[in-house]
Amino acid sequence: MKKSKFTKFIAVFLASVTICSSFSALAADIPDNATDPAKETDKDSGTLDRNIEEVKEILNAISYEDYLKRNADIPDATSSFKINAVDYDKDATTAKVEVKKDFEGKGSSLLLPDDGKVGWKIDVPATGKYAIKMEYFPVSGKATSIERMFLIDGKVPFKEARYLTATKIWIDEFEADGNFKSDINGNDIRPQKSEKPKWRTYSFNDSLGSYLEPFKFAFTKGEHLIQLDAVREPIIINSIELYPLEALKTYAEVKAEYAAKGYKPASVNSVIKVDAEKPSAASDRVIYPIYDRTSPITDPQDPAIIKLNTIGRDKWQTVGQWIQWEVDVPESGLYQIAPRYKQATLAGMYVSRRITINGEIPFEEANRLRFNYSDQWQVKPINNNAEEFEFYLEAGKNVIELEVALGDMSDILRRVENSLSNMNKAYLKILMITGPTPDPYRDYNFGRLIPNEISSLYVEEKNLTQVSKELTELVGIKGDHVATLDKIALLLGRMGSDEDEIAKNLENLKTNIGSLGTWLLTSKNQPLELDYLMIQPKGVALPPANANFFQAAWHEIRSFVMSFFTDYNSLGASEKIDKDEIVEVWLATGRDQAQIIRQLVDNDFTPKKNISVNVKLVAGGTLLPATLSGTGPDINLFSTGNEAINYAIRSAVLPLNEFPSFNEVTKRFHPSAMVPVTLYGKTYGIPETQTFSMMFYRKDIFADLGIEIPKTWDDLHAIVPVLQNNKMEVGFPSSLAGSNLFLYQMGGDLYADDGKRINLDSNLALDAFRDMCELFEMYRFPRTYDFPNRFRTGEMPLGIAEYSGTYNQLTIFATEIRGLWEFVPLPGIMDKDGNINNVSTAGVNCSVMMRNAKNPEKAWEFMDWYTSADTQSNYANELVATMGPAAKHPTANREALVELPWPTRDYENLASQFDNLAGIPEMPGGYIIQRYVDFAFLAVYNDGADPVESMLDKIPEINKEITRKRKEFGLEVIEVPSDVK
């Protein structure tokens, strides 16, 4: 009964989905509904219209370097002009903009939402190359930066203009006395970050830092249309100014100017010390105070308790991130700025920063400050390795800002990036001829087939050698960092000059492309940790950078002794908690997760509900013995659906249906999320994460081969030969995962008769199983493969894989293909009416309430709060903030998903698949299915057995086990015929 209801529901749902999708396809051109909030729920279109033409256009865009070359004959502009943001052009605007009158002291401004284009008509007075800057006001929103795409006359002028990134402004919330909050034991508690929007100027520049100067855009005299297309986050703009970019003065010139003006070093008494861990603002939420316990003279320091005393390290390493300090200067004059810093990550290299004082870059060299490597702390006036700079500061408040920039490295890294992309292209071309394992003795005739690529290998060898030479000069020594480049250059030289070497070294080239990508990634990271900034006139002695031996020894001894008396469990506890009243929550994931949840509890849940919660990080596998001995928690987080049901049928967890707000809570999730945690009408867990498969594809390869992104399985079948002709493969989940995908898209179900027997012997399921086997038999899909790796190298340009893990991994480790891939909803099965059913099967992690919960009502309050959209999005954003972009949390809460920092395009894809999910129920004895389906599949795969026969063979075994298990729990069974062995 329940099942048929469920199928009906699914059917109705899918029908509505497909109807909506046909409408939304029609409506796609009507841009006004683009920001309609209803869109989020209405846009249930199964498949998104991703057109290969669009993909091609993006890929073939030229780089800024080429753009400059192409427009070399256009002179630099000589005059500037400004337009007000509110004078936007209605015809060229698709976004739902909003005019803000008298906004924050700057007059009328324009709010640009996070979706759609906004256009302005400009009248350029004279042909020339203009830089563009805008005055903006970041709107509070998600924890990500603002991203816009810039178009001139409807076209993106060059590739980098797609990723214009403006930062937000974050501040720490200190206590009234300017100190950090502390817990009952005196440990500092990391302050909350909040957005504090202020007007800021953004000059359009490269978000990756490959170009130190802002972009110059070529305009001819006359009327033009400029547009900003939203990628991420809303923004308020006051004005846009096109101005001629003038070269900055050099330090020598500035120094002469100072002398001419009679500026003198300030008097020796004006020494200011600024605690770096208490900045006045920072660009990212991740830049928060941290603690250093390595040095006894890090200020402040304590052997026993945690003192937040530094800032930065790996939180402050990406281009564009800045930290600001407000400094009260006692007297006008020349000062040196000497930070106490540590750069112990890039061995043999330096990291770069750009300094601005009161919003101005004082001189050219300020773009390329250097912080050299040492495993010790260092105190040195800001310098560029040649000269220590002096800055003129007026008496009163000054704002000093340090921004991550690539400095002298920017040019080098850009060239290496170019080389990498050329190598990638050449590799793909060769791969299409030879396949991943070429025959070293065959003459492939590369010179005739792909002459350009072969010569490009040779060219890149020259480039890399040159880069390596320059880099050695720049750094002063030839470290292992440079050696990587030499090694690759050597290989390229061999392959480029001798055709016979190509096939032999292809494998080698592949690994080297990977290592070059990693090289780029690590070189671009510019971590720096700051303790304090000394602002003092030249000549005043600097404080010591490191403690002497006795200080260090005394510190170590004290910390060692104190370590016996520190209560590490109550870190962050703000009040003594009465033992019996607390809700005990366990999780076995990781320290960061536990800490974030604890923080959210302390700052949000406990104050609101007046319920104390003890969040405990336990080792995996502790729950079972703890429950057995009666010392378990009240709530366990991140249980699998399987675990929840396993505990439920042994009455170790409580059903949750009876709690007052149960129905509201379940509405937060897609119905499929409730399926695995529900058994016979009783729900035992509240979903936290929901993961499912999506289709990943390589844009560049698809564009190159001219094939469309498959929307149905028939489409997929059609492109497989094309891919395979080019020696490429498709990744597809084998065995049960694969056949379930087909089964649920056909509208089937894994169990029959309410879980009393398996449904795999139904015609539908056998079809699904056969279809899956066919892919592996007929098309020879590989069964075992490392998807991210093969995807990265291009051998497997198409694959169906679990979305969050794969996405996270690819963003972090496959940097060389950034922007060359995306994930889209799965292909589906088209029915007679042309509707496509492309549901993906989803699994969940859930929180469960244990049988021994002392206070079920309070525990339920926690679960309710914890799975709410607010908490989930806070949690997810915190996680990204703490652990970086690879920690995207696959929340099950549909509402929270909107708040997560996904790029808009990815979000759209994700959301559209999110509305097309199917949950697989967990039943007693379910573990047996995977096992026997594996056996059946392997019989087909290894020995070429008939899929249907091989499946039918296993059915009695599965049913027998299910029946046996059900008997154990006193559930209704269907008697298995006695002839079954």
């Binding site: 394992t437 079972l624 009455s651 590989p782 075992t784 573990y927 392997l938 062995k981």
Partner: protein, 319 residues
């Protein structure tokens, strides 16, 4: 006569062994040696808590049905009846276990012995080095995972890659997911890691043998090295032989972790499913601890039997 004896004992000792029951005598002896007992107590208490009690408990649980989360229910022999009469997989597991034990047990034992014997001939410095080389696979923990790289099912696995390059196969062999390969491969890996503790104890045993024994034997007419081995070396190191045998029996019957790491759990078509796996399957996946205790009890009995058998065989050494 009896009077005489009584008088005599009264003279020498107040109480004699014969005047007491066995228990009284034991108690008295214990009191006399109480220092020794105190010294052994820490180990003994721990041994009882962590070894004896669990074994007894498991024996008890094998007569119940117990799912770890609810109290056990007594069902008498049902577990054993089901195990023998209604569990095909168990029979497969028994078969596999015996194959494993029969192949890896003796081979690894003989291998250890022979290698130890050979190595013993080397000069001390080289001996130490060679010992380390042979012993390293078993001290390096999960080093056998290197085999999953060698025999990876991916087309980039070393063996698959080589075979594809040579043109022997066109699609990768699923070495650890193909019933034809799993068992032989696991046996090879088991042998590779088996030069463990017994190997070391043999080497130690060989070192303890007094050189004069060989000289005496030579005088007595030993003709060759084989006779020397059989009549002198082996009988002298019987305790080590026994120890090695017990280790290799428990090792080969308790074989499972390596298979799980290589071939997954369960292995395809239960092709390398051992009793240990069956035990894990019921104790872990299915939460049927009663049933898995029954399996454990049987495994225990089998090992005991094998040990007795080996003891018998070893008593023949040197005869």
């Amino acid at each position: 006569m009896s009077e005489n004896t009584a008088a005599k004992t009264q003279d020498v000792r107040p109480v004699s062994r014969k005047d007491m029951t066995k228990w009284q005598w034991t108690w008295k002896e214990m009191k006399r040696n109480k220092v020794a007992y105190i010294m052994i107590a820490p180990f003994f208490i721990l041994f009882i808590i962590f070894t004896v009690i669990p074994v007894v408990l498991s024996l008890f649980l094998s007569f119940t049905t117990f799912n770890l989360l609810e109290p056990p229910k007594f069902i008498f022999m049902d577990n054993y009846i089901r195990l023998f009469l209604d569990d095909d997989i168990f029979l497969i597991a028994v078969k596999n276990t015996f194959i494993f034990a029969a192949v890896t047990g003796p081979i690894s034992y003989l291998l250890s012995l022979l290698l130890a014997w050979f190595i013993n001939e080397l000069t001390p410095r080289i001996r130490a080095l060679v010992t380390l080389v042979f012993y390293s696979p078993s001290i390096s923990g999960s080093v056998y995972l290197i085999w999953t790289v060698l025999f990876s099912s991916d087309q980039y696995g070393y063996v698959n890659g080589m075979l594809i390059n040579l043109g022997v196969i066109s699609k990768p062999i699923q070495f650890f997911q193909d019933a034809n390969y799993v068992m032989p491969l696991c046996i090879i890996v088991a042998l590779w890691t088996s030069l463990g503790t017994s190997f070391l104890s043999f080497i130690a045993g060989l070192q303890t043998i007094d050189k004069s024994m060989y000289e005496a034997a030579a005088v007595d007419g030993i003709k060759n090295r084989w006779q020397e081995l059989w009549y002198v070396t082996l009988p002298t190191m019987k305790p080590q032989l026994m120890f090695g045998a017990v280790m290799s029996i428990t090792g080969s019957f308790g074989f499972g972790a390596v298979v799980t790491a290589l071939a997954g759990f369960p292995s395809v078509d239960y092709s390398a499913h051992t009793i240990m796996h069956h035990l894990d399957d019921y104790g872990g996946t299915r939460f049927e601890v009663g049933y898995s205790s029954a399996i454990a009890t049987l495994l225990f009995l089998i090992m005991m039997g094998a040990n007795l058998l080996v003891k018998k065989l070893l008593s023949k050494v040197g005869q």
